[in-house]
């Protein structure tokens, strides 16, 4: 069992950061679900709300950064506390970028909803489902200090990459067969790329969890 600090206030300050990160993680999950729903169900109003929601993610980013800076300045953390704060700084950046990608998906959904559908979405929702799962599991691994779950997230990224490549090939075929689809296909392609990037950000978080738990930096080591 992990010991508490002598200073209860210090424990409280670290807990605030942990809770804020989870709040931010929960919000980007919702954002991704809504962005995909706006695309699949052609719900432009939901797309608009999702785009507007991004400012909440940005505010949380600044708030968490501020808490982390204060702990650094006042506590001079060491060991696992230092790793935690370093990790928090990086996770918050990844979560903020996931928020940006979700807003980008919602923007493409808004544009695509104004045109006839290109094709039924089959692989894209699967890919988004995986990416959402990865974000959720990366945050769960962070909360529980579960490095095995974090390793699983890193491995799942390969599957999302494969789906993305598959979608790219399919879209290329569409564009070759009917050049009038190019504009819409490029937008769908962008959505696919956004989901792939979200999975990459989840992987970044998972890699940092492994560093926090094991003190071992595995970035750029998983092929």
């Amino acid at each position: 069992m992990e010991r508490e600090h002598f200073s209860k206030q210090y424990d409280a300050e670290l807990n605030i950061i942990r809770e804020k990160l989870l709040e931010m993680g929960g919000k980007v999950e919702v954002m991704l679900v809504n962005a995909m729903k706006a695309l699949e169900e052609r719900d432009t109003a939901l797309a608009e709300r999702t785009i507007a929601f991004d400012h909440e993610i940005n505010s949380l980013e600044m708030e968490i950064d501020d808490h982390c800076l204060e702990v650094l300045a006042r506590r001079q953390p060491a060991g696992r506390d230092l790793r935690f704060i370093t990790l928090a700084f990086k996770i918050v950046t990844d979560l903020e970028r996931i928020g940006d990608q979700c807003a980008a998906i919602a923007k493409r959904a808004r544009e695509l909803n104004a045109e006839p559908p290109l094709k039924p979405y089959i692989d894209m929702p699967r890919m988004a489902h995986y990416a959402i799962g990865m974000v959720k599991e990366a945050l769960d691994s962070f909360v529980r200090g579960d490095d095995e779950l974090a390793v699983k997230v890193c491995k799942d990224d390969e599957f999302v990459d494969q789906l993305n490549e598959q979608i790219q090939r399919e879209l290329l075929t569409f564009m070759i067969e009917d050049p009038s689809t190019i504009s819409r296909a490029i937008k769908v392609n962008h959505v696919s790329k956004c989901i792939e990037r979200i999975a990459d950000h989840a992987t970044n978080v998972a890699e940092m969890v492994i560093f926090m738990v094991k003190g071992k930096d595995i970035r750029h080591t998983i092929a």
Partner: protein, 252 residues
């Protein structure tokens, strides 16, 4: 890195108390090693064993070996005074000789080696004071009483007195704990400069100070060496849970 001082199964007993238990450490040459740990962990006891200060403590018993280069400083026929010339010590509280001038304080240890020519003494005083960055502050009042200096200046004077005898190793027992933050920073900067010429071993309660000034850190607990390693690693990803709990303020 070459080892300058090596502890080999060092044990220190005070009567029935086993204060230091089978410690093995290599202190690399021309580097700063910090010894950290909670009160009573044996860190100052280890430091004092390195220049044979326990010789004069009734009931103290030191066993194992302490090698300075390849010489066991507790070996047969080794003169402890000669050892203390090679291994200088700076204490927690500045301790200039109260009845002496700044000049005489610096040269006091060197004079014990025998008669010294005036020009030679002048040169030693100036270079020692320059090396501790005190020369410019005191060059116009070398004959003033050392007690007129501030606490931080007195501590730098004591370090100048230590290096005037040209030691190879400097032991520091919480050298900045009685000083204000600015004087502390000056001492820390000085430690960084001194390591080019000397091997420095510092005991400190201040973990941030250990992290700032040392190349290697050794963590002691209840008389045992728990972990010794490169400072950056020990303060970011220590190998032992006890070390991690101590440096993060979870016990101590």
């Amino acid at each position: 890195m070459n080892s300058k001082v090596k502890l080999d199964d060092l044990n220190v007993h005070f009567g029935g108390t086993h204060a230091v238990k089978g410690v093995d450490i290599d202190f690399p040459a021309n580097s700063v090693t910090a010894i950290i740990g909670p009160s009573g962990c044996g860190k100052s006891t280890v430091l004092r064993a390195i220049n044979r200060m326990h010789d004069m403590t009734p009931g103290a018993q030191v066993s194992g070996r302490i090698l300075l280069d390849d010489t066991d400083i507790y070996g047969r026929g080794i003169d402890p005074v000669a050892i203390r010339r090679k291994i200088g010590m700076v204490f927690q509280k500045p301790n200039p000789f109260p009845a002496m001038s700044i000049y005489d304080n610096v040269i006091a240890g060197y004079k014990l080696n025998g008669r010294t020519r005036r020009d030679e003494a002048d040169e030693i005083v100036e270079s020692s004071l320059q090396r501790v960055a005190l020369w410019d502050e005191v060059k116009d009042r070398l004959k003033s009483n050392a007690m007129e200096l501030s606490g931080g200046q007195q501590q730098r004077l004591c370090i100048a007195r230590t290096i005037a005898v040209r030691p190879e190793v400097i032991l520091m027992d919480e050298p900045a704990s009685a000083l204000d933050p600015l004087s502390t920073l000056k001492i820390e900067e000085l430690i960084e400069e001194l390591k080019e010429r000397y091997t420095i071993i510092i005991v400190t309660h201040n973990m941030q100070q250990a992290a700032r000034v040392s190349d290697v850190t050794a963590f002691f607990y209840l008389g045992e060496l728990i972990e010794c390693g490169v400072t950056k690693k020990l303060f970011t990803t220590p190998d032992k849970k006890q070390t991690e709990d101590y440096i993060t303020g979870r016990f101590g």
